[in-house]
């Protein structure tokens, strides 16, 4: 369960100007929900996702993930939470260019210290789930954008984290690939994963159980 209370994030620019990216965001996301966080570009939705994903910490307020107050944790604890509880699907895919599709999928398992024998099986299953088993040994540069995003989803599938944060996952894809990716995210939701979709695409947002709208760093609906 995700609970944010009065979450505020203020960035300082190089010129010393303070920018309030989040302004008192309070929300609650239950386990197994498919939530769309919708907002225009610059509204603060990615900042919210970064805090939810333990990549960043709030300036003020409280963020609780499964009962643990994230703002009180150190970098070691945060990386452990990222490893065990969170998977990301980014707009820019964020695959390691020098690793093959299978190796990219395997990476979170390595950091989780999963046994090598189990890793191979999990990676195969994950790639099969996204229909890329035949592309296992291809580098990201040898795959289309849609295929790269499917590798990223396979990586989230393999990591088996209960929370999936997808930041504009279809933003760089054609409509067909985008539809496929959305279907895969729903598939993950159907097997019990909590999915938080960050998007400005109203159509994609409507497929979610619930929409949370953000504007100028505030929740508006």
């Amino acid at each position: 369960m995700i609970v944010t209370e009065n979450l505020t994030k203020i960035y300082s620019t190089d010129g010393g100007i303070k920018v309030k990216a989040l302004d008192g965001v309070s929300l609650e996301i239950r386990d197994g929900e498919f939530i769309a966080i919708v907002g225009a570009s610059g509204s603060g939705k990615t900042t919210l996702m970064n805090i939810m994903g333990c990549l960043d910490i709030p300036t003020e307020g409280k963020y609780t993930l499964d009962g643990a107050d994230i703002s009180l944790l150190g970098s070691g604890e945060l990386s452990r939470i990222r490893s065990r509880k969170i998977s990301f699907v980014f707009q820019g895919f964020n695959l390691i260019p020098s690793l093959t599709a299978a190796e990219n999928v395997e990476l979170p398992l390595i950091y989780r210290k999963t046994e090598a024998s189990s890793r191979k099986r999990i990676v195969t299953e994950a790639l099969e789930a996204v229909g890329l088993e035949k592309r296992a040994n291809h580098l990201p540069s040898e795959l289309s954008g849609g295929q790269q995003q499917r590798v990223a989803i396979a990586r989230a599938f393999a990591a088996d984290a209960p929370l999936i944060l997808a930041d504009e996952p279809c933003g760089n894809l054609d409509s067909r690939s985008g539809t496929d990716v959305m279907e895969m995210l729903h598939g993950l939701n159907r097997i019990g994963k909590t999915v938080v979709l960050i998007t400005h695409d109203e159509k994609a947002a409507l497929t979610a159980d619930r929409q949370i709208r953000i504007s100028d760093g505030k929740v508006v609906v």
Binding site: G76, R82, S83, F88, N94, I96, P108
Partner: protein, 394 residues
């Protein structure tokens, strides 16, 4: 786990081919220098040891402790010293810096006055003709045995037995008949001369005495019953020869083993100093590794961010970068070692000497180099590990 990180580190090395290659080269050159210098030292020490072990091992020289001791060594002393306990034979020795005039060429040499026992006592060996014999000494014969090198330098061949050469002695050149050619190398006598005189000529000591107008000898060479390095024997003999000459410490005994020790010690010091200088290049290569790794961290900031976002901890990132710098130095070292040993082996083949593997130096160079890689890799690895994921992903 570590295997996966090593594979990842290896891939990263492969990815930055040019940078990795240059870094490997800098490490390899440093290790190459250390291995080659150590190899030269090992081969040199081995050559000295093997030569000295077969030559003059049971020999020693009695000579005046200084120029002002006023002690003259005579025929009676040769006889008396030869009868001392532990001494098998004694031989008079004369010695003078000289020049040989052969076929119009003037060649620097050192003239030794010896007798028929030179073969046993100072370990000279005839490769052509014969050595100085008792009749030559008895007849004060104008004959000589010369180093093979001298023959080759003048005639272009080693066998010049029967030729006449001129040797500068007593202020003028005298004609001598070459009756034998001696094998050149680190003979017992040459080691006494610390290797600074490369070419020798050997004459009957009686002939040399006549020419220089002396009845005494410069040294007396002794053939001992056992290893001249035996300190007890050397001490006893020194006391006895001094006692025979009514002197407290006017005479000293030098053995070839102590000369060997001095030579190998000098070689060892030179090798160590040069190796340390070469070792500095390993430190420099460590700095090169650090520079390359820092550039790598800069280039792979996003990759670090991705890895952190999917659960890599600071320690994971640190180990990956450290492994990369250690692998770089290890590969570089192995290349340097292979090239260095290859150069040593090639040099030995060209010079016709036995190759000696400087194992300790190879291990030390490898270990030190990898240690440098690890030490200089710490800062870039820490820098990578400490990157905040959100900043790394931007």
């Amino acid at each position: 786990m570590t295997g996966s990180k090593a594979i990842s580190a290896f891939r990263s090395i492969k990815r930055g081919k040019s940078r990795s290659l240059l870094t490997l080269c800098s490490v390899a050159v440093g290790v190459f220098a250390v291995v080659v210098i150590s190899g030269i030292g090992s081969v040199g020490t081995r050559e000295i040891n093997s030569t000295m072990l077969t030559m003059g091992i049971n020999s020693a020289m009695v000579e005046a402790a200084g120029t002002g001791s006023g002690i003259n060594l005579t025929d009676d002393d040769v006889t008396a010293f030869g009868e001392l306990k532990g001494v098998n034979k004694a031989m008079p020795l004369m010695g003078a810096m000289s020049k040989a005039k052969i076929l119009g060429k003037f060649l620097n040499c050192y003239a030794w006055g010896v007798d028929q026992d030179a073969k046993d006592i100072i370990s000279i060996e005839a490769v052509h003709g014969r050595l100085i014999d008792d009749k030559d000494v008895e007849n004060h014969a104008p004959v000589c045995v010369i180093d093979e090198v001298l023959a080759e330098e003048s005639y272009g061949r080693s066998n010049i037995v029967g030729k006449k050469i001129n040797i500068l002695l007593g202020g003028s050149y005298r004609e001598f008949l070459v009756v034998g050619i001696a094998k050149s190398g680190i003979t017992g006598l040459q080691s006494v001369m610390s290797g600074i005189i490369p070419d020798f000529v050997y004459l009957p000591y009686s002939t040399m005495q006549d020419i220089v107008g002396k009845t005494s000898f410069d040294k007396i060479a002794l053939l001992l019953e056992k290893d001249a390095a035996d300190e007890g024997l050397a001490k006893t003999l020194t006391a006895e020869v001094n006692s025979l000459k009514d002197s407290s410490d006017g005479l000293v005994i030098n053995n070839f083993q102590s000369q060997k020790g001095q030579l190998t010690d000098i070689l060892s010091i030179i090798t160590t100093v040069l190796s340390l200088i070469a070792g500095i290049s390993l430190v420099v290569s460590g700095i090169t590794v650090m520079t390359a790794m820092l550039v790598s961290v800069g280039e792979r900031t996003r990759e670090i961010g991705i890895k952190k976002s999917i659960g890599a901890g600071n320690a994971d990132i640190m180990i990956e970068f450290l492994l990369e710098s250690v692998l770089l130095t290890a590969f570089g070292s192995l290349i340097g070692i292979a090239a260095g040993l290859g150069a040593c082996l090639g040099g030995c083949l060209v010079l016709g000497v036995e190759f000696v593997l400087p194992l300790e130096s190879v291990i030390a160079a490898f270990g030190f180099s990898v240690l440098m890689g690890a030490l200089f890799g710490v800062y870039p690895a820490l820098k990578a590990a400490r990157l905040r994921p959100i900043e790394a992903l931007r």
